[in-house]
């Protein structure tokens, strides 16, 4: 009979499960950096989970749309959320601290990765965080931050600004 270990609550843990949890997977970023992550943490990403189930991973999963810096952040998030014994309150506090230090361009990269890897909780939190940082920002700021090209003529843009003039109250000027 296989030996049994005890978790902090004193309950027996079947080693098979433990083994599965500690099994590692390699994620490879767009710039060639390799990261080791437990299967249970990686499984929080629906996209990686599907790749594992399809067994197309072969131990190393290439993620050509995520750079190393961003992937490291995403892995920190996944590890915390897969941690044994982390309460919802712990995770909420972690999320708050994890995101609060990030600049908007970093948040955008994490949002792209969260969407691509299909990590809904992370993606939602990051979207909300980006929106909080968008308060009172000008149209120019939004175009610059999200790299959007305007396809309006100057007249069309002026017409829209006139039509929704009330919505501009309290918004920074384009020069800010």
């Amino acid at each position: 009979m296989a030996p049994k270990n005890k978790n902090p609550n004193g309950e027996n843990v079947v080693p098979e499960v433990q083994q599965k949890k500690t099994q590692a997977l390699i994620l490879k970023s767009s710039d060639g950096e390799e990261f080791s992550i437990s299967k249970s943490a990686a499984g929080l990403s629906v996209a990686i989970k599907n790749m594992m189930e399809d067994d197309c991973a072969g131990g190393v999963i290439p993620l050509p749309l995520v750079d190393g810096g961003t992937l490291a952040r995403v892995i920190t998030y996944l590890n915390k959320h897969a941690e044994d014994g982390a309460s919802d309150e712990d995770k909420r506090k972690f999320d708050e601290e994890f995101l609060s230090g990030m600049e908007v361009d970093v948040l955008c990269d994490v949002a792209l990765a969260g969407n691509y890897l299909d990590i809904r909780g992370l993606f939602h939190d990051v979207c909300q965080r980006i929106v909080n940082g968008m308060k009172n920002k000008s149209v120019e700021w939004v175009r610059k931050t999200f790299r959007i090209e305007s396809d309006f003529t100057a007249e069309e843009e002026e017409q829209i600004k006139k039509e929704y003039a009330w919505a501009w109250e309290g918004v920074d000027s384009d020069a800010d």
């Binding site: 979207c127 968008m134 149209v139 959007i148 305007s150 919505a167 501009w168």
Partner: protein, 332 residues
């Protein structure tokens, strides 16, 4: 990032006012305003975040109202001034939910005495009322309605708590067509609740962490007597309900900023917004107090000044693209 990908999600967390403001970013950002899927996502997301603004409405006088941000840290995401003008002339707000206002027509003999109105999009829906006697409530009665979480607006239900004879009746209307009645004989069960009845100083509000989303939220009863607020929350056990007192404090003690208020000043109106924030008007200023913070002196904040005189009412407001439902018309 693209408007079919991440930006679609990011923008869906913005209040409708910001979406109109950013509609000149590019053609795709303008198209979002008429995209049904986006509209649904936006108003659902707005149910997950606290209401940011509120209306303050003068009682007993038609057409005197203002819109303000609930926190002095936020700029207002209130409706366009044209909507305030419209409301001043046509509708008295009696309740609000998820960006929709439930209004009573100002005209005395209107075919549709009630209507829904989204002041940001100008969508408007007259509500047919089967029994005119349902409209016995006046300004002074506690009225609320809410948009259900998962259903579309066609299934939206409004419940109108009517206070009469010491009993609270929650009357649910299905756009005025289908009715369900839920009765709570609450006042008999609330120790001290009966006292103060009859001078409009006893009101019921929604209570809970996510008042806009959870169907299992509770309600709270707020009494104001001799400038002391007392709040009870309806608690549920497996077989019955009981009332638990969660808060009791003198108005003057509720924030340091209030210490310069004369003890003889009268509270001109109060409400609980976002399931836990008590706001009240005194000396032509509005203050907020987070009831979840208990007796913490830092829980109070001066929100704004206002111009309406006399007694006032409050209605929460969230800037959404929510349509009023099938049959709604867009006002010119």
């Amino acid at each position: 990032m693209t408007f079919t990908g991440e930006l679609f999600d990011i923008f869906s967390w913005l209040p409708a006012k910001s979406l109109y403001g950013l509609s000149s970013v590019c053609k795709s950002s303008k198209e979002l305003l008429s995209d049904d899927f986006f509209i649904r996502k936006q108003f659902k997301n707005m149910q997950l975040v606290p209401d940011r603004d509120f209306f303050i409405i003068q009682k007993y006088r038609k057409g005197n109202l203002e819109s303000h941000a609930l926190s002095s840290k936020n700029s207002s995401a209130g409706p366009p001034p044209e909507s305030l003008n419209f409301l001043e002339n046509h509708g008295n707000i009696i309740a609000s939910s998820n960006g929709l206002l439930c209004c009573r027509s100002i005209a005395d003999y209107d075919e549709y005495p009630l209507f829904l109105f989204n002041p940001t999009t100008w969508s408007c829906l007259p509500i047919p009322i089967l029994i005119r006697e349902q409209l016995v409530f006046g300004d002074q009665k506690s009225v609320s309605f809410s948009c259900a979480k998962k259903k579309t607006i066609s299934c939206c239900w409004h419940y109108l708590p009517l206070m009469s004879g010491g009993k609270q009746i929650l009357l649910a209307l299905h756009c005025g067509l289908r009715r369900q009645e839920l009765q709570f004989t609450i006042l008999q069960n609330t120790k001290g609740g009966k006292k103060g009845l009859g001078d409009n100083r006893l009101r019921i509000f929604e209570w809970g962490d996510h008042p806009n989303t959870s169907e299992f939220n509770s309600i709270c009863l707020v009494k104001l007597l001799k400038n002391v607020f007392t709040v009870w929350v309806l608690m549920r056990t497996s077989s019955s309900y009981y009332w638990k007192r969660v808060f009791r404090m003198r108005v003057q003690a509720m924030a340091l900023a209030l210490s310069n208020i004369s003890p003889r000043s009268r509270v001109d109106g109060f409400a609980v917004l976002n399931g836990s924030v008590l706001i009240f008007a005194i000396g032509r200023k509005v203050y907020s107090y987070n009831l979840k913070d208990g007796n913490n002196a830092g829980a109070g904040e001066e929100v704004c000044g206002y111009g309406c005189g006399g007694l006032v009412r409050f209605a929460p407001y969230s800037s959404t693209l929510r349509p009023c439902g099938p049959g709604a018309i867009t006002l010119p």
